[in-house]
């Protein structure tokens, strides 16, 4: 797939370094800590350059989101024949990756930033974030869904709806809790495992996709 270059402003290396520092400041101290003066000091650049490069503060924030999104590359894994075990493997990997991304410091900081700005009308940050950061991973999951259905391993009327079910099973309210400051899970892999087990119980084509040997009964 060819990535849309029009959405990617392609900043200069110097600008990338500045944006990196900006993300660091944001992660460390939240939006309050991300001031133009502070960023100029931390990144050894002048405020005038910041305004020349990014226009204004909102432009800087948008650039930070675009820059972070440009760092995350989602690789389309499409091997050959898809078996039940392989599908579960892929689903669990997806779940682990999803939890890993959502609990990342930068992701949490950017989401907090966008949510904090979401009240204002002209704030495109939320759209931007969900567009750049989410669409990739959504595509990967939907692809997995439809591959599973084509292989006769999954049954559902609507891939999008099934994906939302999987998402809910994996994440539940964890994302919001982490956004509120709570700690993440101790074992993302276990959570992914349980979620995929439930998902396959709901949408798996054959019942024996559930292996009785796995320890899903827990304590």
């Amino acid at each position: 797939m060819t990535a849309e270059l029009s959405d990617m402003p392609e900043f200069s290396p110097r600008q990338n370094a500045v944006l990196e520092q900006a993300l660091k400041l944001l992660v460390d101290g939240g939006e309050k800590a991300l001031t133009t003066s502070g960023l100029a000091r931390a990144a050894n650049c002048s405020k005038e350059s910041l305004y020349k490069w990014f226009g204004d503060r909102d432009g800087l924030l948008a650039a930070m989101i675009a820059y972070q999104a440009s760092k995350v590359r989602t690789f389309e894994r499409s091997g050959g024949r898809l078996t039940a075990d392989l599908l579960r493997e892929h689903l669990e990997t997806f779940g682990r990756d999803l939890l890993e991304v959502l609990s990342g410091e930068v992701s949490l900081a950017l989401n907090r930033l966008a949510i904090g700005q979401a009240s204002r009308e002209g704030s495109k940050l939320g759209r931007l974030l969900v567009e750049h950061g989410r669409r990739q991973i959504d595509r990967r999951a939907i692809g997995l869904m439809e591959a599973g259905r084509r292989a006769g391993l999954l049954r559902f009327p609507d891939a999008d709806s099934a994906y939302h079910t999987l998402y809910g099973l994996i994440v539940s309210d964890l994302h919001v809790r982490m956004l509120l400051g709570e700690n993440g899970l101790k074992d993302n892999a276990r959570q992914a495992e349980k979620a995929v087990h439930a998902f396959l119980s709901l949408h798996g084509a054959s019942q024996n996709t559930e292996r009785a040997g796995r320890a899903h009964s827990d304590a």
Copy 2:
């Protein structure tokens, strides 16, 4: 002096009116619009009174959360005998209520506020919000879970885990999307219906709790 978290400060009617105005300002314009001067002007009170009543700005924010939580009363519905249909009814009602609460303007505004402040270390707003606003509804759901299990209608090893499953099925990523500024669902009841159907498929004791007649297939 700081009040204990556990008790209800029980504000005076005048203070309640001021807090109501504060919530209105917050809902309308976000945290940026909630200034002490602006609140004093909007509520026809003096800034001095604000600081006398709530200590400082953080105290005001905490008071707003406590006040809003005091308005939401969750009534423990525990009738007599619990049948499968009755259980599903209660679960669906819970789902509708949950979606209704989460998509409420005040809830979204307060969550945005707490999330925006979550980066700072000394910010108890997140804990406060999840404590006051969530515990009630959590209790209600867990009670429902265990009542269902006692009646032999539900099977699960852990009520808390089962509740999180239900929560994820109902809400998925909708809460975060709404926090980012997206619109809510057109039909909360339908979403609750689908979620409860899936939940009963996972944790319902007997398979015939799923009535074939219901229209869960569609697009």
